[in-house]
Structures are given as structure tokens and as C-alpha cells.
């Protein structure tokens, strides 16, 4: 369970004013979380230009799945060598189908687990830094800070067009 944090939450109506506020906070070297009703490339590029590790996990998962699938076919065939359909014991073409299906299956499931892990899901206990309007049409910026810094942060957010700013205590 994540520990409750204190900070300032600002609600914006427009994406461009949100981006202006993000730039100002970055200049102040503030850490922040931006909450949006839809994914937005402009905001994503502004706040974080790193690549998600999900793709690497998916690749590794797919690779492991493919190896497991082929190994299952090959090992079980060699374990009890029995010629069926007039095919070789190690019949590569038919085994490729099981290999492919296992690649997709394990790769897909790894993709899901990696996405949930890196997104911090499931997490049903987070209440700070969120407003139900962020699932409708408003953009939010959550700046974790103590009460002593809150007034300064709130001022920056208001000056860039936040329609509502509030301090959430821990």
C-alpha cells in the first residue's frame, strides 16, 4: 500500500495552459505528475521523453514463450520417439505452429504484467493527486510538496491558468 503524500493539485481546462504550467514547474526543478482524460502527445513529450521498458519485457516474454513452445514439442517427441503421419521425429514445420502460438501467448501475458507493474496497478488506495473531473474533461498537475512550499507552487500554477488549485495534506 502506497504511503499518502501531501502536495498541490491544480485543475486546468486547456491542454496549452497545462503545458505552460509544466514548463514553469520544470524550470523550478519540481517533480510532478500530470493526469489527463486522454493520452496527449504534447504533454507526454514535455514531461517525460524516456522509453517505456514494457516493450523489452514483451520481447523477452515472447522469446521465452517461443523457446518453451518449441522445447515442449521437441522434448516430448524425443521422450517417446513415435513416427506419426510419416513425419520425422523432430518435425520442424508443424512444431513452428505451437512455437508461434506460445510466443504470442507468453509475450502477450508478459506485456500485460509489465504494463500493470510499471503503471503501479492495481492500486485502489491512492486518493491524493486525483479529481474525478480528470476522467471527464479536465487536466491535472499534482506537485508533491510540504505545506511550507505549497503557496509558492500554487502561485506558479495559478499564474499559468489553473482554474482551481488546492493543497492535499498527507
Amino acid at each position: 500500500m502506497s504511503k499518502k503524500m501531501s502536495g498541490v493539485l491544480a485543475v486546468f481546462e486547456h491542454v496549452d495552459t497545462t503545458i505552460d504550467a509544466i514548463r514553469a514547474l520544470k524550470q523550478d526543478k519540481r517533480k510532478m505528475t500530470v493526469i489527463t482524460p486522454v493520452p496527449n502527445h504534447e504533454i507526454a513529450d514535455e514531461i517525460d521523453d524516456t522509453q517505456s521498458p514494457v516493450r523489452l519485457c514483451t520481447f523477452v516474454g515472447g522469446l521465452v514463450g517461443g523457446i518453451l513452445g518449441f522445447t515442449l514439442c521437441a522434448w516430448t517427441s524425443l521422450d517417446w520417439p513415435l513416427i506419426t503421419n510419416g513425419k520425422e521425429i523432430l518435425s520442424i514445420p508443424p512444431f513452428m505452429i505451437i512455437t508461434f502460438e506460445c510466443t504470442v501467448l507468453i509475450g502477450g501475458l508478459t506485456n500485460l504484467v509489465a504494463m500493470l507493474f510499471f503503471s503501479g496497478l492495481p492500486n485502489l488506495n491512492v486518493t491524493e493527486g486525483f479529481d474525478p473531473r480528470f476522467t471527464v474533461d479536465r487536466f491535472g498537475i499534482w506537485v508533491p510538496c510540504g505545506k511550507d512550499e505549497a503557496e509558492g507552487v500554487a502561485g506558479v500554477l495559478r499564474s499559468h491558468g489553473a482554474e482551481e488549485v488546492r493543497f492535499d495534506a498527507a
Binding site: 481546462e13 486547456h14 491542454v15 496549452d16 495552459t17 505528475t33 500530470v34 493526469i35 489527463t36 482524460p37 486522454v38 493520452p39 496527449n40 507526454a44 514531461i47 517525460d48 522509453q51 517505456s52 514494457v54 516493450r55 514483451t58 515442449l72 514439442c73 516430448t76 517427441s77 521422450d79 517417446w80 513415435l82 506419426t84 503421419n85 508443424p94 505452429i97 505451437i98 508461434f100 502460438e101 506460445c102 504470442v104 501467448l105 509475450g107 502477450g108 501475458l109 506485456n111 500485460l112 509489465a114 504494463m115 500493470l116 510499471f118 503503471s119 503501479g120 496497478l121 492495481p122 492500486n123 485502489l124 491512492v126 474525478p132 480528470f134 476522467t135 471527464v136 474533461d137 491558468g161
Partner: protein, 440 residues
Amino acid sequence: MSTLTYKKVNEDFLSLLRNPTKAWYVLFVLDLLVLAFGAACWIYQIQTGMGAAGKMRPVMWALYITDFVFWVGIGHAGTLISAVLFLFRSRFRNAIYRTAEGMTVFAVMTAGLFPLIHLGRVWFFYWLLPYPNQRGLWPNFRSPLEWDVFAVSTYLTISSVFFFVGLIPDLAVARESATGLRKKIYTLASLGWRGTNTQWKHYNNAYIYFAALATPLVFSVHSVVSWDFAMSVNPGWHGTIFAPYFVAGAIFSGIGMVITLMVPMRKIFGLEKYLTDWHFDSMGKILLFTSLIVTYAYATEMFMAWYSGNPFEKSVFWDRAFGPLGWAYWVMVLCNCLIPLLCIKKTVRTNVWGMFIISIFVNIGMWFERFVIIVQSLSHNFDPWVWRQYHPTLVDVGISIGSFAWFGMFFLLFIKFLPAMAIVEIKEILPVPRKKARAA
């Protein structure tokens, strides 16, 4: 869509999740009655034995395998629309993909029942799973039937996961407006999604990879299903054209079913501004394109039967068109090759109810395609001494009709309890709210 706002989209789609109306309950009860009839037929078959179904040598694959292939085919359009069209950045998919994905999951769940029904001794279903028997002998991984177990179960798993992942942000939207038990369920199902920049980053990345993994899967599943037939040496089945032929047919029937489901949904829920003529025009083009591929495949099959000089092949195809069940072949040609040609005209593609009627014919035609391939090839096999016509019984027919009710039950629950339209993705194609743009 230009007059819509994020708030309006939320309001419109969340209104679909209000408590069911009396009409919905009536429809649901009728559906359950049909399902109960299908279940009773299956119970009777289990008690009596497989003789209760009309299967008799040489037609040992009949309506159940026809239904299996039909439902797997229906299950193709959802992942095609969600994955393939997503990778092509096709914007018309945003409004229709959720319904199509739901349809996919329920169709594959329906398809998955038929191998079990066909088994007879359903309690031994686990013999299909890859584990060794008491003598340490594993299943034969060179058999297309074992490939099918892997292909269909992988497809069901990945389609369900893809469906669920797409739902997460929309369930968070539903969570914020729900109350009572519904709020608790949506809170749990949305996993505490908030829409932070970190969550969107990993979500979007994962979504692309789901699409990339699901795309070859869509094409592989029906290829594998086609190999159930093509790997055998039965006349009418043993053809290299089967994989692309089945894949095109599956997309064709799947798009047909999407149109069949979306037209009444659009009318009942007043979704005219979200499901516009443009969507039906685009789906009409896919329908026409895949219909032409299917027609080409029918013609190729006939040509190869004649050109091969193989008397068994010739005989089977002559029987398909002019034998005792020849009417089924001509129903298939009428519904799959001729009627979809109407989609050449844009006025037809943009006529929503016209498209609905065409889609009904496509559904009928594609069911008959599978019936023709399976039943007519087996009933007119190599040896004239064993030729025998197939006659379905009430049990076969009841279970087949019951499968539509099984599918319908899940679909009715889906449109009432889950966001049947992709709220977030529809918002994505709307103009982003900007202060400067508004001032201009």
C-alpha cells in the same frame, strides 16, 4: 463529431450504463429461454449418446464443426478492427472497435463450446490439453487438432486481455459516475486507474505491442482452423488455398456480424452522431473486398477440381453444386458473392438499414459456406459404397440455435454493464481543448 466535447461524450456513453429498461429484460428472458432449450438438447445428447445428433458415417463432422468454424470466423473481425486497423491508424475504428472486441470474445467463447459438445464424453475434455497420459505419451504436436487447441485458446486469451486492457480507462470513467455496488465493481475492475502520464506511457506502449502480437494471431487462427481440413486428404478439403480462403471468409463474416449488431444498437441507443455513414461506408468497403476474395476462392476451388483431372475431386464439387444439397451451395453463392456486390455503390454503403440487410445475408451465407465445405465433402467421399446424406436432428439444430442465444446473452450483458463504446478513444479523435485556439 466536430460539435462534441469530452464532457458530452462521457454523458452520452455513461447513459448507456443506466439500469436496464423493460424491453431489455424482455429480450434477455427470451434469450435465456432459447438458451435453456439449447442446454436441454445438449443434456439429452449427453444422456442418450452421440446418436441423438444426426451425425452418421461418413458425416462425422456436421453441424457442430460447422458452428465451431462459423463462430471462430465471427470472432475475427473484433481483433482485426482493434489490432490491424489500429496499426494502420484507421480512425473509423475508434467508434466501433469496443463492440467488435466484445463480439470477438463472446464469439470465441461460443466457438470453444463446440469441440466440447462434439466430443460426446465432454467430461474427458482435458484429454485435449498438452499433458502426458498414464503411459507417459504426450499429445501429437504434428496433428492439426492439437494446433487448434493452442491456436483457439491463445486467441481467446489474447483477445480477452486486449479487450480488458482497452476497457481499463473507460471503467475508470464509469467508476467516477457510478454509485453503490456498481461503483465498487468498476473500482475493482479499473484497478485504480487515474490517467497519470506514467500510466498512459506504459499503457500506450503495451497497447501497440498487443496490437502487434494480435495481428499475426488473427491471421494464424483461422489458418490453423483451415488446416483441420486441408491437412487431411479428403476431396474438397485438401487444398493449399484453404488458409487465405478461410481468413478472408472469417473477416467477411466478422464484419457482417459487426454491422448486424451495430445497426440496432445505433438506433436503440441514439448513437447516430457517433456511428455515422462514414463508418458504414468503411465497413462496406471491407465487406466488398473480402467478398471478392471469397468469390475468387470459390471459383479457384471449382477450377482446380476440373483442371486437376482428379475424378474424386470433380465428383465432390459437382455434388456440391448439383447434388441433393446443391441448394445450400447456391444459397452460399447468392449471399456471399452476389448480394455483397451491391456494396460497390456508395449509396448502398451509406444506407445503414441497407447494410443491415446485406449483413444478415452475409451471416447466413457464411454459415452455409462452412456447412457446404464440411457436410458435402464428407457425405460424398472417395468410396460411393459409403456415400450417405446427412440429416440433422432436433438436437443438432437446438444446440446450434442455442449457441446464438449463448452469444446473445453475453452481448446483452455487455452493452448494459460495460462501456460498449470506447469513451477515451472517441475523445482522442475530438479536437483537444485549447485556450489559444478558442480565443482565435
